[in-house]
């Protein structure tokens, strides 16, 4: 156990910052969907998995250039989000939340099984190594730096979209009062589909960044899905700002905890912190909506 305030500690803090970018992006899509539609996509991490396999397939099997494969991967998951809403969510939209959890939970297992059938259980990798950069005796992988920059850029673009456009404003308005939307000339069903496409697209974007860092296998969603839920709940489910802040907090717990003890301890400490906060503030740090 070594936890001095040295260069390794600084490296852990900076790596936590980089990890937070990806976690913030993952939390963003889930929070957007929950904030607007009031339904939790339990299968969100599995949508990311679908995106990773789609990119792998288009790049390694079909042989398309990686950027094209990534663009198609985003498209696939965006369409998957729309289908998820139209086929699975819409019929249970006005039923108790437990039904919505169960059906999206069902989709989780369906997607895992479908991925196993289609691609097998072995680990896949797109085989791209971007190397790392060293700075003052600290090492950072380019994958993580790129992920961080892209994730932040997407958060900013989405924020501007929600603040400045008519459709973006309508998305925020629906989350505040869905009954009167027809009086504004807004078709709520259409806004839900657009939101689901964006939620799916964000999962797809996360997939493009994750294929650069991780191997792909059918259960990969279980590796980070619970973490993303924890971040969303910690920030206040549905609060995009809360999810963003919580991602940075949790990432620090993981990397600093991992650096001082061992990686597994990092997660344990993060979840302990989560439980304490939820006892104190059950609605999360930024309870309420956008």
């Amino acid at each position: 156990m070594d936890c001095a305030l040295d260069i390794f500690f600084l490296e852990a803090v900076l790596n936590g910052l980089l990890l937070a970018g990806l976690l913030a992006l993952l939390a963003l899509g889930l929070n957007l969907v929950f904030g607007v539609i009031d339904v939790v996509w339990i299968c969100y991490a599995e949508l990311v998995m679908v995106g990773m396999y789609a990119i792998f397939h288009f790049h390694k099997v079909v042989g398309l250039p990686l950027p094209v494969a990534m663009a198609l991967g985003i498209l696939v998951v965006a369409v998957a989000g729309v289908i998820l809403h139209a086929v699975v969510i819409r019929p249970v939209l006005d039923t108790p939340p437990i039904n919505q959890l169960l059906v999206t939970g069902g989709v989780l297992f369906f997607l895992q099984a479908a991925a196993t059938m289609a691609f097998g259980v072995e680990f896949k990798n797109i085989g791209v190594q971007l190397g790392s950069v060293s700075f003052a005796d600290m090492y950072f992988s380019w994958n993580r730096i790129l992920t961080f920059v892209v994730a932040l850029a997407i958060v900013l673009v989405l924020w501007q979209f929600l603040r400045r456009t008519f459709v973006g404003t309508a998305i925020r308005a629906v989350s505040q009062d869905r009954q009167i939307m027809p009086l504004m000339g807004v078709d709520t069903r259409q806004i839900y589909l657009i939101t689901s496409a964006i939620g799916g697209g964000l999962a797809g974007l996360a997939a493009t960044l994750m294929v650069l860092q991780f191997d792909i296998y059918p259960q990969i969603g279980l590796q980070f899905g619970p973490l993303v839920f924890m971040i969303c709940v910690l920030g206040g489910l549905g609060s995009m700002v809360g999810g963003f802040v919580a991602a940075f907090i949790i990432a620090q717990f993981i990397t600093i905890g991992g650096s001082c003890f061992a990686t597994e301890w990092g997660y344990a400490v993060a979840f302990l912190f989560f439980m304490v906060i939820i006892f104190i503030r059950p609605q999360g740090l930024f309870g309420g909506k956008v």
């Binding site: 505040q176 009086l183 504004m184 000339g185 078709d187 956008v290």
Partner: protein, 234 residues
């Protein structure tokens, strides 16, 4: 302009409107008055499509409203200021106004309509970046009316604009109603504040338990002894 014939409507097993017929001509201001629970709000909800009618006919300038999806009724020129205002509390004043101009034709003229509404209600221009939910009741009513005007409507439906406001503010709200009249909008207003509303409209319908009980020029109803007794406590 607006014509209703034999409209029935209700919530589940409960029927709230029984064969309501009424018409509003272009340029008129018409009030619907009646006791609490008489069906006044239900009537406006049926006109703007929030609640489907179960029988009868309803048209706006020849367009069959019963065959128009709720979110497209605004395109016929009807704007509805709902009961208790229903602003988006965590959107700014200007974002609320932007929602009022969501439909395609209004979007194209957004800047122009915004200038117009800010010109009409300079207070909204001062508060444009404030969250709507943090304003006073009177200001919120102003914002709700401004939001309705953003779509460039012909007919404005106002549901209990004075509800929940202090007496001095109520007077200001009726001044707002006079102003949108003088701007040339046709107005259909639902009010429990019978004495005040009959002074700003041309005609009124009295609704009792879901039926039109009587109708006539505002001055005539204002002078009627039973209306004064039943609704104005005189």
């Amino acid at each position: 302009m607006l014509e209703l014939t034999g409209i029935n409507a209700g919530y589940g097993q409960f029927q709230a409107l029984f064969g309501v017929s009424m018409r509003v001509e272009a340029g008129e201001a018409v009030a619907v008055i009646g006791a609490n629970g008489a069906g006044k709000t239900t009537l406006l909800r049926v006109i703007s499509g929030l609640l489907p009618a179960s029988a009868g006919a309803m048209s706006m300038e020849g367009t069959d409203l019963r065959r128009t999806p709720p979110h497209r009724i605004i395109e016929t020129g009807i704007a509805h200021v709902p009961e208790s205002r229903r602003l988006f509390p965590r959107l700014s004043v200007e974002e609320n106004l932007r929602m009022g101009a969501f439909v395609k034709p209004a979007r194209a003229r957004f800047a122009e309509r915004l200038d117009y509404v800010y010109g009409l209600f300079p207070r909204l221009a001062e508060r444009r970046n404030q969250l709507a939910g943090t304003m006073s009741g009177g200001e919120q009513q102003m914002c709700a009316i401004g939001r309705a005007l953003m779509s460039g409507p012909k007919l404005v439906l106002l549901d209990e604009p004075s509800m929940g406001l202090a007496p001095v503010i109520v007077t200001q709200v009726f001044d707002l109603v006079r102003r949108i009249r003088s701007e040339g909008y046709t107005v259909l207003i639902v009010e429990q504040n019978v004495a005040q509303v009959l002074k700003v409209v041309d005609r009124a319908y009295l609704i009792e338990v879901g039926r039109v009980d009587r109708s006539g020029p505002a001055a005539e109803l204002l002078a009627s002894d039973d209306i004064r007794r039943a609704y104005m406590g005189l």
